[in-house]
């Protein structure tokens, strides 16, 4: 699904943020990515999401060498990847419902087809009441849940989540973890960047740790 070999990344002329990162994410795997703040977790997820290219090393996603992927291939690949951004990136002028439905709308689906699915998912993440309101009136945790819902609505093959429980209470975090695990059970490969040690402990899944640009894998 995802393969990195000796990948390095630097921004501009700055220091190398990621150094010699190598790992493989097999289809159906579930992993955590952790490490101190500023270690490069978000940067690594950006690489996997194809929104940046590594400065060196080899990288492939869905079996495709990323250097061979052109701009016009991106939309279709992106529809197979779900992502939860650390800053959520919801659209302020659309309702919660429309924000969550956006990937489906963009993929050209008719609204009648996805309406029920979206409402069900909103109910699951506890946002049924907020379906019609705009994101700016949502609480921090509500925004985060909307972002998660948008990432998983299209049942992606690969799910990347950046700190998806930083703004929710432990009980809700557990519920969201169940959502991720359920998705994983249905075949989605999941990679979650998080600082939440409780979450990691609950899931009992392998953890990759980034520190000073190096990656360490622990079971």
């Amino acid at each position: 699904m995802v393969r990195l070999e000796n990948v390095g990344l630097r921004y501009g002329h700055g220091p190398e943020i990621l150094k010699d990162i190598s790992f493989v994410l097999a289809p159906g795997e579930f992993r955590f990515l952790t490490g101190p703040s500023g270690a490069g977790k978000t940067s690594l997820l950006r690489l996997l999401f194809l929104s940046m290219a590594p400065t060196r090393g080899f990288m492939s996603v869905f079996g495709q060498d990323t250097t061979q992927i052109g701009r016009s291939d991106l939309p279709l690949l992106r529809r197979r990847i779900g992502i939860v951004f650390q800053e959520f990136r919801l659209l302020d002028h659309l309702t919660t419902y429309e924000n969550v439905a956006l990937p489906l709308r963009v993929a050209g689906l008719a609204e009648e087809k996805y309406r029920a699915d979206v409402m069900e998912l909103l109910k699951w993440v506890g946002l049924a009441e907020q379906a019609r309101v705009m994101p700016q009136v949502l609480s921090g945790g509500e925004k985060q849940r909307a972002a998660i819902a948008r990432a998983v609505i299209a049942k992606p093959q690969l799910l990347l989540a950046d700190e998806p429980t930083g703004n929710v209470d432990p009980a809700l975090a557990k519920r969201l973890l169940r959502l991720f695990l359920e998705l994983n059970r249905l075949g989605t490969t999941v990679l979650i960047a998080t600082h939440d040690v409780q979450l990691i402990a609950q899931a009992k899944m392998p953890v990759m740790t980034l520190d000073q640009g190096q990656l360490r894998l622990a079971a």
């Binding site: 991106l74 990136r89 956006l102 963009v106 409402m119 379906a131 019609r132 948008r150």
Partner: protein
């Protein structure tokens, strides 16, 4: 809760951002000014046409007294020739008094003018759409009446044409200036409006929207903005013409009326000239937004 989904989905590019409102206003204003300039241009052209038309519609034949000829007979001969000339609508022989009256302001103080041999005049109205051949006419007259001369107001017409050229050049210059300014403002305002929606474009791209999909959304929004603004400018411009026509000097008002009236043979031409303005403005708006969008999209991965 579930009924909410039955609403029409929100437009993906929000319609009421402040920069988009500025774009609408800026475009409307520039279209308005351009319509004024374009309309002014058409008006000036039509006025010049009308003036020169009036002038070339009236010519004068002057017959000088020549020793040994009978003036009245010469006048009758000339009149006969003129009346049979195709393109001549009306022939009026002015009597001696009328001729002297015309001279009055210039030589009014001269005693004994009545006894002098004053040249006699024939006023002729011609069909401006089908004017007679002046040189042939003059030769024909000369053969019969030696003292004849034709005053076609050539000098006046040349003078007027020169002035008209200056006026139209000026109007064209102003139209070009306003056009350039309009393009600059529309380009900038469009870019600002799209920059304000950069986050929307980015998120659409990130959730897997194709460039074409985004371009359609953006294009639709800017098409609507451009058309709205252009039409507002056009309507206000035409309204201003109507108001100005009411307040302007008579001759101008008449032309303006004809220009604006929903009849007349210049109708299509006039209105097409004006309608080009919002069309061009919308096109600029569309092209700029497209180019800007593509630059934003190319900068994304």
């Amino acid at each position: 809760m579930t009924d909410q989904a039955s609403h029409r989905p929100e437009p993906i590019i929000p319609p009421d951002a402040a920069p988009l409102r500025t774009l609408t206003l800026a475009m409307a204003v520039m279209c308005y000014l351009a319509v004024l300039a374009a309309g002014g241009l058409v008006l000036i052209n039509r006025s010049v046409e009308a003036w020169t038309g009036d002038l070339s519609r009236e010519i004068t034949v002057q017959i000088r007294e020549i020793q040994g000829r009978n003036m009245e007979a010469d006048l009758a001969k000339a009149e006969a020739i003129l009346k049979t000339t195709p393109g001549v609508l009306k022939v009026t022989v002015l009597d001696e008094k009328a001729a002297i009256d015309l001279l009055e302001p210039w030589i009014g103080g001269i005693e004994g003018l009545e006894d002098l041999p004053v040249p006699r005049l024939i006023a002729i109205e011609i069909d401006p759409d089908n004017p007679p051949d002046f040189t042939a006419l003059e030769t024909a007259l000369r053969n019969e009446v030696p003292g004849v001369s034709l005053d076609t107001h050539k000098r006046w017409q040349a003078e007027l044409t020169r002035m008209a050229r200056v006026l139209t050049t000026l109007a064209y210059a102003i139209l070009v200036l306003i056009g350039l300014c309009a393009i600059a403002i529309v380009v900038f305002a469009t870019r600002a409006a799209l920059e304000a929606n950069r986050e929307v474009v980015e998120v659409l791209h990130l959730v897997g929207a194709r460039d074409n999909f985004i371009a359609r959304q953006v294009g639709g929004r800017f098409l609507r903005t451009g058309l709205t603004a252009g039409i507002i400018g056009l309507v206000l411009g035409i309204l201003t013409f109507f108001l100005a026509a009411g307040a302007a000097p008579d001759s101008f008002a008449a032309i303006a009326q004809e220009f604006l009236s929903l009849s007349g043979n210049h109708l299509m031409q006039n209105y097409l000239a004006l309608a080009v303005v919002p069309a061009v403005a919308t096109l600029i708006c569309l092209i700029t937004s497209r180019v800007t969008l593509m630059r934003i999209l190319k900068s994304l991965r």
